[in-house]
Amino acid sequence: MLLKDKFYKVEQENILTPLHGVYLIALLPDADVYRGHFPHKPVCPGVCNIETIRECAEMLTGKKLFMKTIKQCRLTAVATPQVCPLLDVNVMLTPNADSSAYIIQARIADAETTYMELKGEFAINMNK
C-alpha cells in the first residue's frame, strides 16, 4: 500500500460487519510528504486522506480496489498531524448490482471534527 506505515499507522481495527469498519489511525508526523506539503507548514494533503480511505476499504475487503468514481468528497477541515494525531476512518460499503464494485461512504473524523466525507464507487480488481 502507498501510505500505510508511511503516512499513517493503524492503531485499532473495529470490524462492525464484513462491509463496515472503523479504523483508528495515527498520522505519522515524520511522513516524507510533509517536506513538500508545505515546506515548514505540514498539512495533510487531501488526496492522501482519500488514499487512506481506499486503503482502509482494501483492508476491510481484502481486495484491491480501483477508484472508479468519486461522486462527492468534501474536505471540511484542514487536517495536520499536530491538529489531529489520531483519526477514525469509517468505511461503509455496499456491493453494486453486478457485484463488480462497491458503493462506498466514508468519513474521517475525530471526536470534535469531521475532516473528510466521501461518496463514490470503487471497482474490484480493475487494472490489476
Binding site: L2, D32, V33, R35, G36, H37, F38, P39, V43, P45, G46, V47, C48, I50, E51, R54, F66, M67, K68, T69, I70, K71, Q72, C73, R74, L75, V78, G120, N127, K128
Partner: protein, 155 residues
C-alpha cells in the same frame, strides 16, 4: 500572436513555465510536485503537463499511478493557473486547498512514461472559493476528469 507564429513555423512546443520556474506558481515541493509545465493559459483555460516518472510519490507497487495522484495533479494544475494569473499581475501566488472533489472519474491509471496533458477550466471566484473542471489525457485518451472546489487561504 507571436507565440502562435512560432508554434506554426517551428512545431516546437513553447511552455509558459517549466522546470524550476514552476515553483514560482505553486507552493508544493518534492516529493509531491505534480506539475512539470504550464503549457498555455488563455482566458479561463490552461493546459499543463506532467511526465509520470518511476520516483513519483503516487506510483503504486503495480507501477501505475494511483487515482489520488491524478486528483493531486489536477489540483496543482489549477493552482499553477491561479499562480500564473497572480504572477502576471505582480501579485504573490496564492495557496489553495481542495475543498471538494465532485464527479471524479478515473478511466485508466497512467503508467510510468506516460505524459499527462491536462486542461483546466476555471470558474469565477466567490468568497475565496473557485470551481474548476479538469480533464487529463494521455495522448488523446481521457484518463480522468473531475470538478473541484478550491479555496484560497491567505498565508
Amino acid at each position: 500572436m507571436v507565440r502562435g507564429v512560432f508554434v506554426f513555423y517551428y512545431h516546437t512546443k513553447i511552455m509558459l513555465y517549466q522546470g524550476e520556474d514552476i515553483k514560482k506558481l505553486i507552493p508544493q515541493r518534492d516529493p509531491i510536485m505534480m506539475v512539470d509545465a504550464l503549457v498555455s493559459a488563455e482566458g479561463d483555460v490552461c493546459q499543463t503537463e506532467l511526465g509520470v516518472r518511476e520516483d513519483n510519490f503516487f506510483i503504486e507497487e503495480d507501477q501505475l499511478l494511483s487515482e489520488p495522484g491524478l486528483i493531486e495533479h489536477i489540483a496543482q494544475s489549477a493552482s499553477a493557473f491561479a499562480g500564473y494569473r497572480c504572477v502576471v499581475k505582480g501579485e504573490p501566488a496564492p495557496v489553495g486547498y481542495i475543498g471538494e472533489v465532485k464527479k471524479f472519474h478515473c478511466y485508466r491509471r497512467p503508467a510510468i512514461g506516460d505524459v499527462l496533458s491536462t486542461t483546466i477550466t476555471m470558474g469565477a471566484e466567490v468568497n475565496g472559493i473557485t470551481i474548476i473542471t479538469g480533464e487529463t489525457k494521455v495522448n488523446d485518451e481521457v484518463v480522468a476528469d473531475t470538478q473541484m472546489k478550491i479555496f484560497t487561504a491567505d498565508e
